[in-house]
Symmetry: C2
């Protein structure tokens, strides 16, 4: 039997854990709501312990986490969730708690960088040295690769909080971001849609004006990412992007906004292959965590 890896998609709403050899060989998967750190991490440890008893020892673990998180290996806070507004989770040493129980390499990155790595290994970003992965759900986050390596920098990207034009005449909704009011996340996350229209996005009909407005904001965000990083592809996932009509609207608006200024035919003539959903679908995050585990073990 080949090597086994454990992956944790650590989300603010739910945790998903998986034991797998790779994307086509998943041996076990579990999902549960995110509670307080001690209880939640305990369930993660119990799951991997049980699977090790059943399947054999894990080679490495990977964690793609909500954040902000500390990624500097030289920091005493490496492996912590740092300044999250999520009650109880501030300064949680997620890597440390798992390290106490499993004496194996642990890969750690943002949830979106993990997802990006998953798409790079097995999905829509194979062979691309520059691409971006954005998720639009409870929050908005983005990660990706530049010059063939994951985007880190001083802290890590927080693309959900991009400031974009907001026409108050067209959309008087003030935005819900506690830090920046009407940043991209404040205007276009799932909770922003629900608060603006008084009902969850998934209950709004396909032709509801909510979707054209949503596409406009996401197109402005995508435009800013293109102008900053010049990615070879943008992958957009998360709950909100399951409204499949959004992709068509979003691609149209993006081309209108760019207005032929960036002339590469990969954008101007092939937008359907430039701005795409994740090829790994709902499994992008947790398979990305498996990819982080493999990377930590140099596989």
């Amino acid at each position: 039997m080949a090597e086994l890896f454990g992956g944790v998609e650590a989300g603010g709403t739910k945790f998903v854990c998986v034991v797998a050899e790779g994307p086509d060989k998943i041996h076990a998967q579990i999902q549960f709501a995110t509670r307080q750190p001690d209880e939640t991490i305990r369930r993660v440890i119990d799951f991997f312990r049980q699977q090790e008893n059943r399947l054999g020892a894990l080679t490495a673990l990977g964690i793609g986490s909500f954040g902000p998180i500390e990624l500097d290996p030289n920091s005493p806070n490496y492996g912590h969730i740092t300044s999250t507004p999520k009650p109880g989770w501030e300064n949680t040493s997620i890597v440390g708690l798992l390290k106490d129980s499993f004496k194996i390499p642990i890969g750690f990155d943002t949830d979106v960088n993990a997802a990006a790595l998953g798409e790079f290994r097995w999905g829509a970003a194979q062979g691309l040295g520059e691409f971006i992965y954005v998720t639009i759900g409870t929050g908005i986050g983005g990660g990706g690769m530049v010059n063939g390596a994951l985007l880190h920098g001083l802290v890590h990207p927080e693309m959900g909080h991009l400031m974009i034009p907001h026409d108050l005449n067209e959309d008087p909704f003030p935005g819900i971001c506690p830090y920046h009011q009407d940043c991209l996340e404040g205007l276009a996350s799932g909770p922003a849609i629900e608060k603006r229209w008084g009902q969850p996005g998934e209950t709004l009909p396909e032709m509801h004006p909510a979707w054209a407005l949503e596409a406009q904001y996401l197109a402005l965000g995508a435009m800013n990412l293109i102008l900053t990083i010049s990615p070879q592809r943008i992958i957009m996932g998360g709950g909100v992007m399951k409204q499949s009509q959004i992709f068509t609207l979003l691609r149209e608006k993006l081309l209108l906004l760019l207005n032929n200024y960036i002339k590469d035919p990969k954008i101007t003539r092939d937008i359907d292959n430039y701005l795409v959903p994740p090829a790994l679908g709902d499994q992008t995050g947790v398979l990305g965590a498996i990819a982080l585990a493999q990377k930590a073990a140099n596989v």
Copy 2:
């Protein structure tokens, strides 16, 4: 005598050419207005020919160019200025014209990536794997490094065209970008300042409200760059940034906008060293071109 390198800062308004061993050993420098391509490139060639006769053969040339430009070495158009609105310059093979006259390695990149490389080698970005260089003048452009290499991607960054919030009640000026109207360049470039206030920025007094508005737009641009790339430093140069009061206003507004969401002390406690002018001053661009030449010659 050590090796000699030629550098060309190819701007839409002026060209600067230099022959140097490095930043502290500049042997000759010339500057002239940008005319039609044939005449302009002829002057570049004549300058380097004369200096070779006087000083000896050049080892390599470097060109930091206005754009957009083609940087894909596999493209038949590599080394061209491509879709520029500048009359006469569209599809000019700037590398090819120099290659015909000088059979030596030629480094080629955007003017802002060249400047970034200059600051990396000798200026404010030494030792940084992720940083951004932005120039605010006739236009606004940005380049930099991520994961230790210059930012290229599908085309190259065009950070000047970032879309940012524009409050029409506070600033009814519609913006002047022919592609995007009120993008960052449309609102905050030198010509935008001149058109909005009816006189050039350099003639406006230090306490004029123009500067607070300018700082607001540049802070929004800097914020979006931080949220996307998480750079370790942002260097801002160009003619507009010579109004030294702008840095103070800009740093204040940037911290207000970020609102302590990105908690790294390099930003929150040391903004004066985070958002800085270029250490090489007016020579950043042309010394960056020397750095490109050295890179092309593997020096």
